[in-house]
């Protein structure tokens, strides 16, 4: 079978276009001067050492990863059961679930952040650390996850699960053996998108950071407001490389198989 039968030309072109700005960023990150130009004027790794010699960036990176993992866990824990109930059952209050599951997406982030700040300063004990940020990110991460999960679940035939039950499988077994495995691609996609939403968020985080704790996007955004050197481009390049390694490892252990099983096979 030729390659064109196995991969669409359109996808290769689109993938190239999506990656192109990324190559520019990588090029910019090695520019020796205190500004970002492409093609770079030379080759230097000084901005990488600046990014990683910067404790604030590294601490912020660790914190951002923790927050994103926490927010993703909450998002999935709330959205997976909610998507099942929305798709599989007709019940009173379905539209209430829908409204509540969409609302947070529709409030401009900066006001959501301000509203949460006012709420949390009164509702949570001071020194709550990263809890407010995790809760705030999950508030938007949940509807993102729910949308993807619902789209996935709608295409999974409930008849299969019923058939398993008719053949004598207990409902729980029927669900875990039949439906759950089919939900994995949706869960991976939903999880990745809510993770990235949190990992990239500036506007909500800005209102909810507490003394001594700030996230990477906030640090990078502030940095860019006072420095034109490619440190943030270098940090971004490093993150992409980390992502790449993660991807390769995930692929090795078979985690991506679910993500791209495709074609119903």
């Amino acid at each position: 079978m030729s390659l064109t039968r196995r991969v669409s030309i359109y996808n290769l072109v689109a993938a190239a276009i999506l990656i192109l700005p990324l190559l520019v960023v990588i090029g910019v990150s090695v520019n020796p001067g205190q500004y970002s130009v492409f093609p770079p004027d030379g080759f230097s790794l000084r901005w990488f050492s600046n990014a990683f010699g910067n404790h604030q960036f590294l601490d912020a990176l660790r914190l951002s990863l923790e927050i994103a993992l926490g927010a993703t866990a909450i998002s999935l824990a709330l959205a997976v059961p909610a998507s099942l109930s929305l798709v599989r059952w007709r019940f009173r209050g379905r539209s209430l679930v829908r409204v509540l599951a969409i609302g947070p997406l529709a409030v401009p982030e900066i006001l959501l952040g301000l509203g949460l700040l006012i709420f949390f300063t009164n509702a949570l004990p001071l020194g709550a650390g990263t809890v407010p940020i995790v809760l705030g990110h999950a508030l938007v991460g949940t509807p993102i996850a729910l949308q993807v999960l619902t789209a996935n679940l709608t295409q999974i035939d409930g008849v299969l699960e019923e058939a398993a039950q008719t053949l004598g499988a207990p409902p729980i077994t029927a669900f875990t053996k039949v439906t759950l495995p089919l939900m994995v691609p949706g869960m991976v996609g939903a999880g990745l998108l809510s993770f990235i939403f949190s990992f990239d968020n500036v506007n909500i985080s800005l209102f909810l950071t507490t003394p001594g704790e700030s996230t990477l996007p906030v640090q990078m955004y502030s940095y860019l407001n006072y420095r034109s050197d490619p440190t943030v481009a270098a940090m971004s390049t490093a993150l992409v490389l980390f992502g790449l390694v993660f991807f390769v490892v995930a692929n090795r252990v078979g985690a991506l198989r679910f993500m791209a099983s495709g074609g119903g096979r």
Binding site: G33, Q34, Y35, S36, V37, F38, N54, H55, Q56, L114, L117, I118, F119, T121, N122, A123, L124, P125, L126, L206, F207, T209, T210, P211, G212, E213, S214, V218, Q219, Y221, S222, Y223, L224, N225, Y226, R227, S228
Partner: protein, 353 residues
């Protein structure tokens, strides 16, 4: 607590209960940091400031025993102080927000007697932060705003602010977008250049409308125009002057016109209900010390506020703020700027987009 709130929110159809939360939210809010004397909690802008403040903190702790803990709030410092009045002992603010914060009662007036060497700070910096005898904050450093331009892309030598209105610069200039302070400074520059003075805002708006054809774009992130000057897509930018110095190899010239210029200081302010104001004063005094000013300037690349500071030549080479520039900066009324920024932002949007 959360349980109770969720039940209340659900029972009350949410809105009514939320109104209750709101009432308390708009009242005092926040709990106390305890006012411990060995810790100063500060709100700051992040990025280079975060790095510099954290870099200087260990030496300060060794000398005073006080730990400085920073909160990265970008431009939201005043909002955070408002919502959490007892959390912060120190707030780093821009001058407009300092003046406004004092006027609105979120900050306490500075007791200049507690600031060592207050008299050594450039008088133009301190006088602008004093309204009716009350001092809004202590400027620790400052930067002047200038014109950065590519000598290979601009057909004449730019020497004054008025030059920016010349027709040769059609579509050539990058200016800062609202709601940043830099945009307001551009408006004041227009007022000063074409009107009777900094306060002639009506003339300023007319001049901004006339400048519009020359504006290529408005930047919202300060490093943006620097990169575009470097790659040649932007011939002229109004920006912090110091940002242009590393671009000498890209044929970028930095001009601070002789008729003076707008500027912006880094102002240390003390929230009204600060638990450890004494510690905050100590830290500010530490930063104002001429030796420590050099460390601060090296880390931040802004000019020292203390006129007694002796900068090594390699450090001063990275700064445009000479003595004559310091003497000529405009006497900006920061309280007026702070109070009007909101309505200016709306008019700006309608005039320039």
């Amino acid at each position: 607590m959360t349980n109770q709130l969720s039940r209340r929110a659900l029972l009350g159809g949410s809105a009514a209960a939320a109104a209750g939360v709101l009432l308390s939210a708009c009242g005092s809010g926040g709990s106390s940091s305890g006012g411990s004397t060995d810790k100063v909690t500060a709100s700051e802008w992040g990025g280079v400031w975060d790095k510099a403040l954290n870099g200087i903190a260990p030496a300060f702790k060794a000398q005073s025993g006080i730990t400085v803990v920073n909160a990265v709030d970008d431009e939201n410092g005043l909002v955070k102080v408002q919502q959490n009045p007892t959390l912060y002992d120190l707030a780093w603010l821009t001058a407009d927000k300092a003046a406004q914060g004092l006027a609105e009662g979120a900050l306490q007036p500075i007791d200049t007697g507690k600031v060592t060497g207050y008299a050594d700070i450039y008088p133009n910096l301190t006088s602008s932060l004093t309204t009716g005898g009350k001092v809004a904050g202590i400027p620790v450093s400052w930067g002047v705003i200038g014109i950065l331009y590519r000598t290979d892309l601009v057909p004449f030598e730019i020497t004054s602010w008025k030059d920016l209105w010349r027709p040769e610069l059609k579509g050539a200039i990058g200016i800062q977008a609202m709601p940043a302070l830099g945009a307001a400074m551009t408006l004041l520059t227009a007022a000063k250049t074409f009107g009777t003075g900094l306060n002639d805002v009506a003339a300023g708006w007319k001049a901004m409308a006339a400048l519009k054809p020359n504006v290529q774009y408005q930047y919202s992130v300060s490093s943006d125009p620097i990169n575009k000057l470097a790659d040649g897509s932007l011939p002229v930018a109004i920006s912090f002057a110091d940002f242009g110095l590393p671009l000498a190899s890209k044929k970028v010239k930095v001009v601070v016109p002789a008729d003076g210029a707008p500027w912006s200081p880094q102002v240390a302010c003390i929230p009204k209900r600060a638990g450890n104001a004494a510690g905050a004063y100590k830290f500010v005094n530490y930063l104002l010390d001429p030796t420590n000013q050099v460390t601060w300037v090296k880390a931040t690349a802004v000019a020292p506020a203390n006129s007694k500071t002796q900068l090594p030549s390699d450090v001063s080479a990275k700064l445009t703020e000479t003595q004559s520039v310091a003497d000529n900066i405009w006497k900006v009324d920061w309280l007026t700027v702070g109070k009007n920024l909101n309505s200016w932002a709306q008019q700006w949007q309608q005039t320039l987009s």
